[in-house]
């Protein structure tokens, strides 16, 4: 197990270094960062002064080393736009996006696992076709439209839920449903395919021959074998959501990472973008590692190497 963890950590480090190099090249080599800091109205002298002040005239390697040194000490620089430290800007946006992503994944799983299992139990039945239609629907409806529809029905007409802001848990219900609806279909299809395969397995026949309750056979013996790929996909989707959904955050006026990323990108606020990219990469690494550890806990055969 330690060997496995060490290898994964080495891989994570490699990925992070690569990403930091790419973002550094994009922000410092491909464009002139001094232009971004100076703003549109700056003169050539201003730009030259900024270049000297920020050290943009030093060799790239030195700049990269300085950048990494700062990042390691928690200093991601300051926003070109507001002049505030990037770390604070990003940190205050993380909770909203993390909560939204978490609730969306919970919603997606709560729907996809039972539906997938039921569909697998009666393949090609009416229920299966309904679940499939739901999946196609969920995948096909654009986020912005689903969000607006939910706002119209549950926010404006029925008045059940708040539609704008992130000040209470209730504010997250409609956005989570919107985002979760998009993640649900792929998960459901994977649960269904996995269960159909597993239910056909010899060990399920054995369990039935031993007279175990159908409930035990399904939810204990079969599901644990069928969810292994689902765990991996959930991690990827969760990581994707942690990058923030620009559309959903905009519609529901949630001050999250997605919104911040969009703002920063439209104004070339490089330090903020860099920080977000690194953060999301890190989230991916942690999540996929967690998924692998969870899978190893679920399936003893994956622990064989340890």
């Amino acid at each position: 197990m330690t060997g496995f963890l060490l290898r994964r950590l080495a891989l994570a480090l490699f990925v992070l270094v690569t990403i930091s190099v790419i973002t550094f090249v994009l922000s410092h080599v491909a464009v002139d960062p001094a232009l971004g800091v100076a703003g549109d109205s700056a003169t050539d002298e201003d730009i030259a002064a900024i270049r000297a002040q920020y050290g943009f005239d030093r060799p790239y390697l030195v700049q990269y080393a300085a950048y990494i040194g700062n990042v390691l000490s928690g200093d991601f620089g300051r926003s070109y736009l507001s002049g505030e430290p990037v770390i604070g800007l990003v940190a205050e946006r993380v909770p909203a996006t993390a909560l939204l992503a978490f609730l969306s994944i919970v919603f997606a799983l709560a729907l996809s696992v039972p539906l997938g299992v039921l569909a697998a139990l009666h393949p090609n039945s009416l229920l299966d076709r309904l679940a499939l239609s739901l999946a196609v629907f969920g995948q096909a409806i654009p986020n912005f439209w689903a969000g607006l529809l939910l706002i119209l029905v549950f926010g404006l007409n029925l008045g059940w839920l708040p539609i704008s802001g992130s000040s209470s848990l209730a504010h997250f219900v409609l956005p989570s449903i919107t985002l979760g609806t998009f993640a649900m279909p792929a998960l459901m299809r994977l649960v269904r395919a996995g269960m159909i395969e597993v239910l056909d397995a010899d060990y399920i026949r054995t369990a039935r021959a031993m007279g175990l309750k159908e409930r035990t056979v399904l939810w204990k013996y079969a599901l644990r074998n069928a969810v292994l790929p689902v765990v991996s996909l959930t991690a990827v989707q969760f990581g994707f959501m942690l990058g923030g959904s620009i559309v959903v955050e905009s519609i529901f006026a949630i001050q999250g990472i997605g919104y911040l990323a969009w703002q920063s990108m439209s104004r070339a606020d490089m330090p903020v973008i860099q920080a977000i990219v690194l953060l999301v990469s890190m989230a991916y690494i942690v999540l996929t590692l967690a998924a692998d550890l969870l899978n190893a806990a679920l399936d003893p055969r994956l622990r064989r190497a340890s």
Binding site: D202, A207, A209, M210, G211, L212, K213, T216, P300
Partner: protein, 521 residues
């Protein structure tokens, strides 16, 4: 006294197919009824129907299926009626420990108390070493034979009256098979079980069955006391089954120069994760020759290295050390296509080794296009004659593999191998997936073809009886080395090495009185 299990007029339909046609039988306490038949005869469907485990889309009908208590076995499965299956490798849930799976059965039927004690007691009873340690292990940490023992223990957890065993030893090595058959027979007698033992293997049936019912096309064609039925079968089908058992052939002594020679072949595989590399030595220096026109048998149990060896001979794998020479020159100096033309393979599973979306004609056309300069019309004529040679009608050319039976598919695979007019055929378990009657036909076909074409053959098998029927000379492999070799008749009549003796002793036969015999008895 009412029978332990009574079945009256049971039928099973799957779609338009009548898989089981109104069969009736009874099993008394302490009696084993063996249901014997070839694939598709309906014997497994019968067992699944009794246990209420028929696949989706199957419909069953019966006047009466009842145990002595009046209950249907399907309603008391796992408790009063239990069943074990053919595939021990996949029949246990991979993500739960042996102990969990055993105890779950007890808890389901007998309540929470005493599950662990019962599981330990039964693991010990089925002779699994170190029961306490095994309880914590997962299925993948055990061998096939051990897993089948665990399944037997699981079936016996609640002390059933009836045990249904569906081909329980078919997937196992011959020596393991013999030990498990004897274990089953012993448990059955000690516990007074009524057992329904399902098998295609007459030797196994003779070993454990008190009575035999022979099934063909969904019906029981003959039923009776084992010895009487096997020594004096009245139904022609039963007679044919018995005659299909492989009989010793007449090994030829061939003095031609060697066609193929392997010297000191070594092959090892690495497995496991970084830092924890394990090295498996599949071949530890194997040398052999095959003379022109000779049939060499390579025999051993799973994991002995025989498949690795055959893959190297065909050119699908490379040895780490040693050398293979063919017709005097090292194989690595041969053009790969030339090597493929002169050495052709026949694999175990014809269903998997033929492209399912191609017609037979296209399957046979490919080697002709690769290895000959024949025109389209000439190739078509050659395909016709190939089909004739392997005993298939010419209309088979337009069929796809799925439309053919297992035996017909293996004939196509042999025709494909012959298309390039090779000098050496390397057959890896070519009859293991086939019924005995089909196996007998394929063995006859191979014998005829080698006479007609002067073919040399390497015949790899775990089944000593099949090798004995066909081969001139044999080598016995164990743990990556050749432990014995010699003329087929000498090796079988007077085996020297303990490994050969064990293999020989595990061949299940029937003597003239219908009694089970092994070569050792």
């Amino acid at each position: 006294m009412t029978a332990l299990l009574t079945v009256d007029n049971l039928s099973v339909r799957i779609g338009a197919v009548e898989a089981v046609r109104g069969i009736s039988f009874a099993i008394e306490r302490g009696e084993t009824l063996a249901l014997v038949g070839e694939s598709g005869s309906g014997k497994s469907m019968t067992a699944l129907a009794l246990m209420g485990l028929l696949p989706r889309g199957a419909r069953m009908q019966a006047d009466r299926i009842a145990m002595a208590s009046g209950a249907a076995p399907a309603t008391v499965r796992g408790d009063r009626a239990a069943m074990i299956f053919q595939e021990p490798m996949t029949a246990l849930n991979p993500v739960y420990t042996i102990g969990d799976q055993l105890m779950a059965v007890w808890r389901r039927h007998k309540g929470p108390a005493g599950a662990r004690e019962r599981a330990l007691q039964l693991l010990d009873r089925v002779a699994v070493p170190d029961p306490v340690g095994r309880m914590e292990q997962y299925p993948h940490q055990m061998s096939g034979g051990q897993r089948q023992r665990v399944l037997i223990a699981m079936a016996l957890m609640c002390g059933p009256d009836i045990l249904i065993a569906d081909e329980p030893t078919t997937a196992l090595d011959v020596t393991t098979q013999l030990r498990l058959l004897d274990l089953l027979a012993e448990l059955q007698a000690d516990l007074g079980l009524g057992m329904l033992f399902i098998s295609h293997d007459l030797g196994a049936v003779a070993r454990v069955g008190h009575r035999v019912a022979v099934m063909k096309d969904g019906a029981v064609v003959e039923q009776g006391e084992t010895r009487r039925l096997l020594s004096a079968p009245s139904h022609p089908y039963t007679r044919r089954l018995i005659e299909s058992l492989p009989k010793p052939g007449e090994p030829r002594t061939i003095t031609e120069p060697p066609l193929l020679a392997a010297r000191d072949l070594r092959r090892s595989y690495r497995s496991g994760a970084l830092f924890q590399r394990r090295v498996l030595e599949a071949l530890k220096g194997v040398s052999l020759i095959v003379r022109r026109g000779e049939t060499l048998g390579i025999v051993g149990e799973s994991g002995c290295g025989k498949s690795t060896l055959s893959r190297i001979l065909i050119g699908l794998d490379d040895a780490d050390g040693g050398q293979v020479t063919f017709d005097g020159s090292p194989v690595e100096t041969m053009v790969p296509r030339e090597r493929a033309r002169r050495i052709q393979p026949v694999f175990q599973d014809p269903a998997g080794s033929l492209n399912p979306s191609w017609t037979v004609a296209r399957i046979l056309d490919l080697p002709l296009r690769l290895h000959t300069a024949l025109s389209r019309t000439e190739r078509r004529a050659r395909i016709e004659s190939l089909l004739r040679d392997v005993g298939l009608p010419s209309r088979a050319a337009n069929a796809r593999p799925r439309a053919l039976s297992g035996g017909q598919r293996q004939r196509v695979a042999i025709a494909r191998a012959l298309a390039a007019e090779p000098e050496l055929l390397v057959c890896d378990e070519p009859t293991s997936a086939l019924d005995v009657s089909v196996q007998a036909q394929i063995l006859e076909l191979l014998k005829r073809l080698r006479e007609e074409r002067g073919l040399s053959m390497v015949f790899v098998s775990h089944d000593l009886a099949v090798v004995e029927a066909l081969c001139d000379r044999v080598v016995i492999m164990d743990a990556g080395t050749i432990v014995e070799e010699g003329p087929a008749d000498r090796v079988f009549v007077a085996p020297q090495h303990p490994r050969t003796k064990a293999l020989k002793a595990a061949i299940l036969g029937i003597d003239a009185s219908g009694a089970s015999v092994t070569a050792a008895e």
